[in-house]
Symmetry: C2
Subunit: 450 residues, 2 copies
């Protein structure tokens, strides 16, 4: 995957890695040209005109419609809460009136009992590179992570005669991952081994190789780092973990739906992720979990609810873990939160994940080009990777005044995210974000710093 | 609380325990009179005409509208999945279009971060008898139960120098409760002490007194038994548990919203419950958890996600449990699933929980009167308590042909629940269930057995 923005030699030629008709093919000015507001606006207009996914934007409910607060004219936080598709709005309404309101309890038998698995399989096929029977939707990311990590740690200890008692993780992982890991380590008498990510490279394969060994049980990492956007080398790190006889659990929260995961291809063991970011499931929509088929029978969920039972409606005296992913389900599936996920997965399936990833790369390159061309004179710097092969679908920029800038922008309906201590995180959701939105946010930052 | 159906002496006089204008005051035929279909229909019509909550039925989306499958003309499974209020239908639509679609990430700051606590407090005040700051909405019941039970078991062991290592529970509790308890017992080296409920009395205070002692850590029971509908003597059992120095965790899944709980008044320690039954939260809507204020600081959730942190957005290196109920929250709250709960709590607040409970009692008494008068000749028997003071808001009837009957009824749009081995469970949701619906179901059973 290459960006076509900072490298003019590539920009004038449509990339042959793009399926016909899907990727933007317009010439893009390099950073050298983006030194004025007009140039930035023109470049954004050209990129939007050539955007193969431009039509997708109209599929979303309008962010600037009259509603809650100042109308949002530039939304750059789809990596925190994705926007609702119009289809989701309609389907939720139909669900309340139909499957819930008239189907009533019958809808469990007819569709909802199978939904966590059916949607998991769809998500797996379209976004995760996972064959059927390995992905399930449910719980919050925190709870799903707890269940899979607990299961993996207990299994690894038992399978190694008590030798594998270390959990390797990195200090820049999302708080939930660190907190869940620390509490589980206390409860299970597991030792935490911390990797400090290289500011210039994220978590590297070499760091992982140095950290793992014959005492390693599990390695827990994020595919895309939530603050910096570093995209980890999932294939090489997974292989390094396996070389040490350990299991890897990838957190896909910031990559699912925008980065090709290839979980099966790269022999990943376990993964969790969230659905309310790039998958547009809505506020608090359920998480997903992936367990490689080869491992499922060996792992046991610590939270053994009736929905994970082999035969939930027998309601017998003893728990018997269901086969496959069923054993990782605990309580009753959160049906309302699954509608948006399914609609987004359908849309990604239609346009192709490659096109989504390509536009994410282009959006990120555009941010970097504008910062270099226009904002660097104010001292704004890019703290995310410049190499698109090492970057997820957000770009964090830093400046001492970012906290103040972000408050001002929010008040004006320009909505990026703030990250301590001095970062503005620009989420780039390829299905819904226009280059014009990115330009509007960055030009306004230029004015405010000017 | 007394029923006004099997006791004619009381029936002709409005009960003075009913707030004026809220309770049905019509004379009701006793079982002796309900020996014909015509008598049953007449009685149902009279009861519906006098039903103080009759107007509530029109607040629900119509179950028999064109939609999924055969139109439902009698819905008697609101104790498995409550029907959607029309208000919920509208508010969900507004939420997608407004707070989600236009408020976007800002809605977290402005309303959703506080929602689990705000809605928990409302639910606590209206339905649970719980002062603010002790109830939170989130997770599935299974996960919430796991967290609170884990916290209580660990605390009790530590507070007793390792002496309190027993968990008392009953063999007729809902499967999730038994399965979660058994797995936690294995993980935490806790011993399970089983109570076998008395078929003629449910779980009695005497049984609890016999089961608890100085080794008891926690007693886990359901307020209303999911199959039989036995309503446990929560005040006396809670006191008995406390006499032994143990903690009690009440499962309120089948009582919340239809039975006065009085959690604070009766000094309950912990409780969990579900919201998609009588609280109409919708399929898979989140659970709730209650922890008495006096205990909160001593208990630690095993699942330490970022949302339970004292300052979630600091995202610092170490977990610091939030104060109050915050520490029992794990991941991002499931917002879509909370709309229906709030609407139902608002409605219960408006009509009064006492009126809801009174109608539940009347509906149950009507079922029993019809079984006694008409169905007993086929061998149908009531397996739920006859004393309304000992009965929740469902009545289970038994007959060897119940499985076949239930399938037939579903095909005709009459929807009760089936429970192994030979029970039909009639859920009586006072806000949405009419006496005519009950009559229709029972008369059809009479025809099918006739």
């Amino acid at each position: 995957m290459t960006s076509r923005i900072p490298e003019p030699a590539i920009q004038d030629t449509p990339s042959d890695t793009h399926p016909a008709g899907l990727a933007s093919t317009a010439p893009t000015p390099g950073a050298a040209g983006l030194t004025s507001a007009a140039a930035v606006r023109d470049a954004a207009a050209a990129l939007d005109a050539a955007d193969a996914l431009a039509a997708c934007r109209d599929l979303f409910a309008p962010a600037d419609a009259p509603g809650a607060g100042v109308p949002v004219t530039a939304y750059l936080d789809g990596n925190s809460l994705g926007r609702p598709l119009r289809a989701t709005e309609a389907r939720l309404h139909d669900l309340v009136r139909g499957a819930w309101g008239t189907g009533l309890i019958r809808s469990w038998d007819e569709q909802w009992m199978a939904l966590p698995y059916r949607l998991g399989d769809r998500l797996g096929a379209v976004c995760l590179g996972a064959a059927a029977g390995q992905t399930v939707v449910g719980d919050s990311t925190t709870v799903m992570l707890y269940k899979l990590l607990h299961a993996a740690l207990v299994h690894q200890r038992a399978a190694s005669d008590g030798r594998r008692t270390e959990l390797v993780l990195d200090s820049e992982n999302f708080p939930t991952d660190r907190y869940v890991a620390a509490t589980l380590a206390d409860a299970l008498d597991v030792e935490l081994v911390w990797i400090e990510p290289d500011p210039a490279a994220g978590v590297t394969v070499e760091q992982v190789r140095d950290a793992v060994g014959e005492r390693t049980a599990v390695v827990l990492l994020s595919h895309v780092a939530y603050k910096s956007a570093w995209l980890a080398d999932l294939p090489a790190i997974t292989a390094a973990v396996h070389d040490a006889g350990a299991l890897v659990l990838w957190d896909l929260c910031h990559s699912a739906g925008v980065v090709e995961e290839g979980l099966d291809e790269h022999d990943v063991d376990l993964a969790v992720g969230c659905s309310y970011k790039f998958l547009n499931g809505g506020p608090g929509a359920p998480a997903f979990g992936y367990v490689a088929a080869r491992l499922q029978a060996d792992l046991a969920s610590p939270i053994t609810g009736w929905m994970g039972h082999a035969e939930p409606f027998t309601m017998g005296p003893d728990y018997a873990a269901g086969n496959g992913m069923r054993r990782f389900v605990s309580g009753t599936p959160a049906v309302l939160g699954m509608v948006g996920i399914e609609d987004t997965v359908d849309l990604i399936d239609e346009v192709g994940l490659t096109a989504v990833r390509d536009k994410a790369v282009d959006l990120g390159a555009f941010v970097i080009a504008v910062v270099d061309g226009l904002l660097s004179r104010h001292g704004v710097r890019v703290v995310s990777p410049r190499d698109p092969a090492q970057r997820g679908a957000h770009v964090t920029i830093a400046h001492p005044r970012c906290r103040e800038l972000y408050r001002q922008l929010w008040g004006e309906g320009i909505v990026p995210d703030f990250r301590e201590p001095d970062g503005i995180r620009l989420g780039l959701a390829p299905l819904s974000t226009s280059f014009a939105e990115v330009a509007a946010a960055l030009l306004r930052i230029d004015e405010l710093l000017g």
